[in-house]
Symmetry: C2
DNA sequence: ATAATGCTACCTATTTCTAGGTATTTTTTT
DNA sequence: AAAAAAATACCTAGAAATAGGTAGCATTAT
């Protein structure tokens, strides 16, 4: 019987070793390598072509989602399962769009883990299901609005932002007005909190 | 030969299993229990009195530092090793002050891990050494200042916060002034960004 | 016991932001 | 080509926050 060849990439060595040991118990799984660095992981995966790669999102060098995208783009035969601490619909969607075969939270238990790996090996996809909280309206900010918020996050005043982006102060005010209206927020702290809760990044 | 009895608490089950398996390989170590919840862990530890408890900082119920403090206070014989993702001098100092025997990063490798456990078992203390990057000033916010920021994050005005916390508006303003001075931030968005970057939570 | 820190409170002039609007131009979508 | 969305700009009154102070009292460390 052909063993499932698995590669692991996570910046926390403890997770790597934990997974490794978890997998070594299984006699249909063979561990082919690991890395704590995204760039190294990508190279390794391209070279070793494991059946499955378990990739953390946050890694030095290159994040797991970018690696996924690139592997998919290069038509690598390796199926990626994203490992994440975050139950975040955007990450999950990114993972799906970038061609991953799975998205698992790090607090997944051993049984589910192994089940997921076996399912993915047979070509099925398994994505963590997000709870109901995702029902609330999503907020869409325009690129310009995000620009403004980014500048605000750096402590800029309307005037400074206007200068920076070659706008009039009134325009900056209008954008901020629109942002407040869209988000229903009353001050900047509240705005950032809501953006964080809604999982909106300014890139 | 007496085996070292170890308890593990971490909200990420993967870490728990990883550690568990890592330890099971060692024939002088015996695993006596684990939990993903701080409160449960504390009870378990008090009851089972393991030789060593590996505690995560972030856990639902009760954080590892608080547990450490309480175990020390109750003169528990269990020696605590804090497990953390953060190379943060404040956490390390807390761990020391609360009577922990060790502070290890989660990306510690297996060898160092086992070494640390054995050292701690003999009564030695082992704390992660922080790199030079810790040169940048750390920001210490007082509980009251955190209260104010929390309220601000909920979109409250100074007046509303004053009412809420039974303070005068002037006092709220003073706190905000001090917060700005401490953090070197110019507006609320900037403040929240800096707090995030510095890994400061408002609890 | 002394020092340091944290929390509280006040004052004033100035700056910044908000909440209502309206309105033109550019870009994107259909 | 028409419609929709995004980005731009302006006005005004009023609300809110800032920057510069000073200072008393309570609690915690040393």
């Amino acid at each position: 019987m052909k063993k499932i060849r698995i590669y692991i990439a996570d910046d926390h060595q403890l997770i790597v070793e934990g997974l490794q040991r978890l997998l070594l118990d299984q006699d249909d799984i063979i561990f082919v390598g690991s890395s704590n660095n995204g760039l190294e992981a990508e190279q390794d995966i391209l070279q070793k072509e494991p059946d499955i790669a378990l990739l953390d999102i946050r890694m030095p060098g290159k994040d797991g989602l970018k690696i996924t995208q690139n592997l998919f783009h290069l038509q690598s035969p390796t199926k990626v399962i994203i490992l994440s601490m975050y139950e975040d619909i955007r990450y999950i969607n990114d993972a799906k769009n970038f061609g991953a075969y799975g998205y698992l939270l790090k607090n997944t238990c051993r049984e589910e883990f192994l089940e997921a790996i076996h399912l993915v090996q047979t070509g099925k996809k398994i994505f963590h299901k997000i709870e109901a909280k995702q029902t609330k309206e999503l907020i869409f900010l325009t690129p310009r609005e995000k620009d403004i918020i980014k500048e605000l996050s750096h402590g800029k005043t309307n005037q400074e932002i206007a200068d920076e982006l070659s706008l009039s102060v009134q325009t900056v005010m209008t954008h901020r007005k629109n942002i407040r209206a869209k988000t229903g927020t009353k001050n900047l702290a509240n705005l950032l909190l809501v953006l964080k809760e809604q999982g909106i990044d300014l890139e």
